[in-house]
Subunit: 152 residues, 4 copies
């Protein structure tokens, strides 16, 4: 599968989880729903442990819950590969929903398509259910702020 | 602004708010964050009263919160114009984030671009701040389930 | 309709047409299919005079032809509002096709949603037919290269 | 890479090339620019042999040329996996451009994310250059018309 070569993460999954807890407490509030499960060169895996709170009419996991997983997947790619600047922001995200997902563990397999100086493009396959079928697929762009001067 | 002509809503904003509370309690849980403020022929206006819970690093309203507003805008268009079948689902949503939004009232101006038998396409301008600038813009598609037989 | 205020074009429609002919001869080759018809503060109108060459199976105007119109609409917005640097490039374009369009004049009404230093976001309503219904809608982002030094 | 299992193509690459020539002569007019190079279960590979005609300002392959390749990739997936009904149409296509591509062979690796009765969702990685880097990535949806009655 084509992707950008030569990328090296500078943070582990646990380090990113700790950073998220610190800079983005709203993400999980009192529960650990969204977690980084793996960071690897050129991508990451993120998980949503979906329960009843994430459902929509029809009893399936809601679009906003899956969007959040996709968005977090891109955020983790930026944090782990371009440095832990929490101020990177999404500029565009396109998500297609293909199948219904029931409550349970939902995994987002995320890869970096391009890491430039000011933009990162990624895509993510979101899989769920006993046979881990793709339930959604998203492509997005993060804007990376200019490196800030280190001052004393 | 071009749009589909000849559309007639069959529900008011209040009726849709009541329906949402009933079929989608997860949306607002114990608070009234997301509200329909207007339903008109060919579109609707939805509002997010964003507070600290909706912020992300940098103190601005998070992407998932704005995505939710966009998704709800499309859902309200379907419910109010194609009949109150809660099982319509998003098949695709593309959102661009243009400016940062601070906590406060955020309005989504939503119009139906096409209402067909099985698909509805909409777009939404999301505005915020004292001068109501566009902070995000989204386009999406809802799949409308076949009309169910009315049985006694 | 919300949009970015305070924008001022620096080129007219005719000036942009001349520029396109010079820097992008492939666009129209020997025919004048794609034209700028209007440049106004915050947007532009572009036209495709679709003939048989632009049709796809079913006898309707092809997706790539409408995509080209959308892409040109954004390009004209950049050229006319951010200066005639031909090297601005599309980074993302999302297009939805709503109705079939027959051969004939097809107009793209394009507005700038955000003009920043390095990115421009736009959307475009593409209308066709005797009642000028929306046949497609697109949202896109252009990357604007840094201003080049003027040297003698 | 997750995808839909159990798919079986019913046409070969050559059969699809012949069908395209017959139903969509505008695609290649007098030249063979766009070709199907492979059809396999769950996807296909398509190629654009880009020459000077496909370039844009800056001397790189234009967005519309890459969009066309993406759109054709999805069309070939539908034709080869859902039956040769030429009237399937794109309802949405989102494309991100990551790197510049020079003239030469450009390959689109296309996979079916979902093949349903009335919709097919696909994505495509477009690679080019001596090291076949990803230059663009797209996700799209095709609408499949209802099976037509075979009448004698």
């Amino acid at each position: 599968m084509p992707e950008q070569h030569g990328l090296t993460p500078t943070m582990t999954a646990n380090e990113v989880n700790d950073l998220l807890k610190q800079v983005y407490p709203q993400l999980n509030e009192q529960y650990d729903f969204y977690r980084v499960t793996e960071v690897f060169p050129g991508g990451c895996t993120v998980r949503l442990n979906a329960d009843e709170r994430h459902l929509r009419p029809g009893g399936t996991v809601s679009g906003p819950s899956l969007f959040t997983l996709a968005d977090i997947g891109g955020y983790v790619c930026v944090l782990s590969h371009a440095g832990p600047d929490a101020l990177s922001v999404t500029t565009n995200l396109n998500i297609s929903f293909m199948r219904k997902a029931e409550a349970g563990p939902i995994d987002g397999h995320c890869r970096i398509l391009k890491l430039g100086k000011s933009l990162m493009v990624f895509d993510i396959d979101i899989v769920a259910g006993p046979d881990r079928q793709t339930v959604a697929h998203a492509t997005g762009t993060y804007s990376i702020p200019p490196k800030r001067q280190t001052t004393r």
